[in-house]
Amino acid sequence: MKMTGAQIICESLLKEGVEVIFGILGGVILPLYDTLPQYPQLRHILVRHEQGAAHAAEGYARATGKVGVCFATSGPGATNLVTGIADACLDSVPIVAITGQVIKPLIGKDAFQEIDITGITLPITKHNYLALDTALLAETIKEAFFLARTGRPGPVLIDLPKDVQINQADFSYPEKLNLPGYKPTLKGHPSQIKKAAKLISEANQPVILAGRGVNISGAYKELKCLAETAQIPVVTTLLGISCFPESHVLSYGWLGMHGMAYANMAIDAADLIIAIGMRFDDRATGSVSGFAPNAKIIHIDIDPAEIGKNVRVDVPIVGDVKGVLNELNKLIMPNEHIAWIYQLDQWRKEHPSIIIRDCDEVLPQYVVRQIYEKTSGDAIIVTGVGQNQMWAAQHYFFDKPNSLITSGGLGTMGFELPASMGAKVGCPDETVWCIAGDGGFQMTIQELATIAKENIAVKIAILNNGFLGMVRQWQDLFYEKRYVATPLNCPDFVKIAEAYCIPGITVKYKRDVGPAIEKAMDEPGPYLVNFMVEPEENVYPMVPPGASLAEVMEEPKKGVSKWQPQNTP
């Protein structure tokens, strides 16, 4: 049956199970938008900036595990997607971005709103396409979705010239794919798995280091089985948070620059690290040369290029985490590490890391803890980047699988609002809290309009300290409190919300924190709480940039500001 390119796209999206698209239209993607009313099953959510579309698609994908979809027009529409695409690339998030492009005869002529978006996104996509033939569109869409969600997931972009959307071709959705260069290794090598099992049985001080790969693979049960059978303590990365219940007796928090001191100490003292679905990011490892100096390392990851990229590995296992752990668990004998676990418990007692000090001011940590208590831990938490992110990760306790959505690799301020919108659209029955900083919130604040228009019931908590807080903290610690360009003059966020018809409240006193959170949750729709928190509160523990995990600072020390960063990454 003959169809236009635009119809072929919509039909193909339906075949891929797409329910929702975040986007903004423009001149050269009009044919596709003009076709959307023929497909009411495809819900289109008009965002107010394309960056919001990409982050919303990410939020949707991170929360549901399904592929998120965003549309934008050519030129500035496409370039505005770039931050979100890069964010998805670094955190292995499956999204498909479809951009309009000028008609084929104009490509390469610097036409109005023409930009080489496939060239621009080449380094930040898993793969991308410039679709030049309407007859090949269905195949391209099928490939794009397959690439986005399989193996190590990632973003795929399809650039779509206007005439390709208008031209007609026969539509039949291909059953097979022709991707000879793409064969992700899913099954771990049996002899490597055997070697790993042997190392695990011999270890005296093992630690499991679990990352986002566990969440992506849905290997929650398998991880728990491994940890419980062999009695191995579990530390996660920032993006691995919620892949293992934090209230579990074997959970020892998360590692890295602002991870728990005892988690970093555990890694530092371990004689075996079983790294699962993580990539040894520098914020997690600290100085690589000082990372886990006494440990052998087993590294399980689906991406062979991650193995040996940043740290030396003794037993590499390439494969899907769930399958590999399943096989590994068959070889694991029940074990005990009583002395080691006792040692870790001692460290946790001596270095609790997440105690909230008693004071009258509204501490951001207290706000997060109150959100935890009022939601009973049953919510999806979406954070911004910086102090708010670290406090959310530290002081909310994540027991529910895949319940933290945060920008880890790219560290994108402004991620929080659109991503929480996407998460709520993907999981309408979940409570979604967006924990934002006053800086990041203003970077994508326009999405309040989308939230209001679509009545997306996101609960927004702004930890408003009047600073670009994390950078101010670095200025405080490493630049002798020279607060260059970090103070913010924030508008009245509640008034802004009201202008968008979103109710809200400002909280200045500790006693009002809990009731404000309850009020927010009682509202059927979106709600904003502007928490005026202690302005110069710092995030601790902290591993100074360039230092090793063992050099973790737990609280402000005198003379700390004399510490000079050297080659700080």
Binding site: G119, L122, P123, L130, K176, P180, G181
Partner: protein, 179 residues
């Protein structure tokens, strides 16, 4: 670890932009390309690239794995070592006078190279061989004055009856067909 030259043979789908994808990968990961040579392979729609990189075995292994992640790259093999034939073609244009022309011709003969163009004050020499041979000839001719040199970059192939990389490619192709 000591840096040595490695020849990577990459089989890639013959699509627009593939070279760009590979070049971009090298640039953003901070890998340096010594030479790159691209041409058709024995399989239609599949091109063969020989990329020479300088680095430790670990670094080159990282390059290889990153290359294999590019969707249009089907297979990458490191074919460095004794079991490999490498060849490069160079054209070297040398200044000559009637006095030294015969000396140049003698050198060219020793290297089993060819003279492909002669003018009153220059000759163009074509030489094929491994990189060392080309370098040696270049060094000898440099004394006469080089006008220009053009080199193709190395191509490489394993010795014996096995294909450097296509065996696995063909197998995987039949596998996908069976599905």
């Amino acid at each position: 670890m000591a840096a040595t030259k490695h020849a990577l043979v990459a089989m890639v789908t013959d699509k627009p932009g593939v070279l760009n994808r590979i070049a971009s990968l090298f640039r953003r990961r901070g890998f340096n390309i010594e030479s790159i040579a691209v041409g058709h392979s024995e399989v239609p729609q599949i091109s063969r690239m020989t990329i020479v990189v300088d680095g430790s075995t670990t670094q080159v292994e990282q390059v290889r794995k990153q290359l294999e992640k590019v969707i249009d790259v089907i297979k990458v093999s490191d074919v460095t070592g004794e079991g490999t034939i490498t060849r490069e073609l160079a054209m070297i244009k040398v200044k000559t006078t009637s006095a030294n022309r015969s000396e140049i011709m003698q050198i060219v003969d020793i290297f089993r190279a060819n003279i492909v163009d002669v003018s009153s004050d220059s000759v163009a020499v074509e030489v094929t061989g491994d990189e060392e041979k080309v370098n040696s000839l270049y060094k000898l001719l440099r004394g006469f004055g080089i006008i220009e040199i053009a080199r193709t970059g190395v191509i490489a192939m394993t010795r014996g009856g096995v294909s450097s990389s296509m065996m696995e490619v063909k197998q995987s192709k039949t596998r996908t067909k069976k599905k």
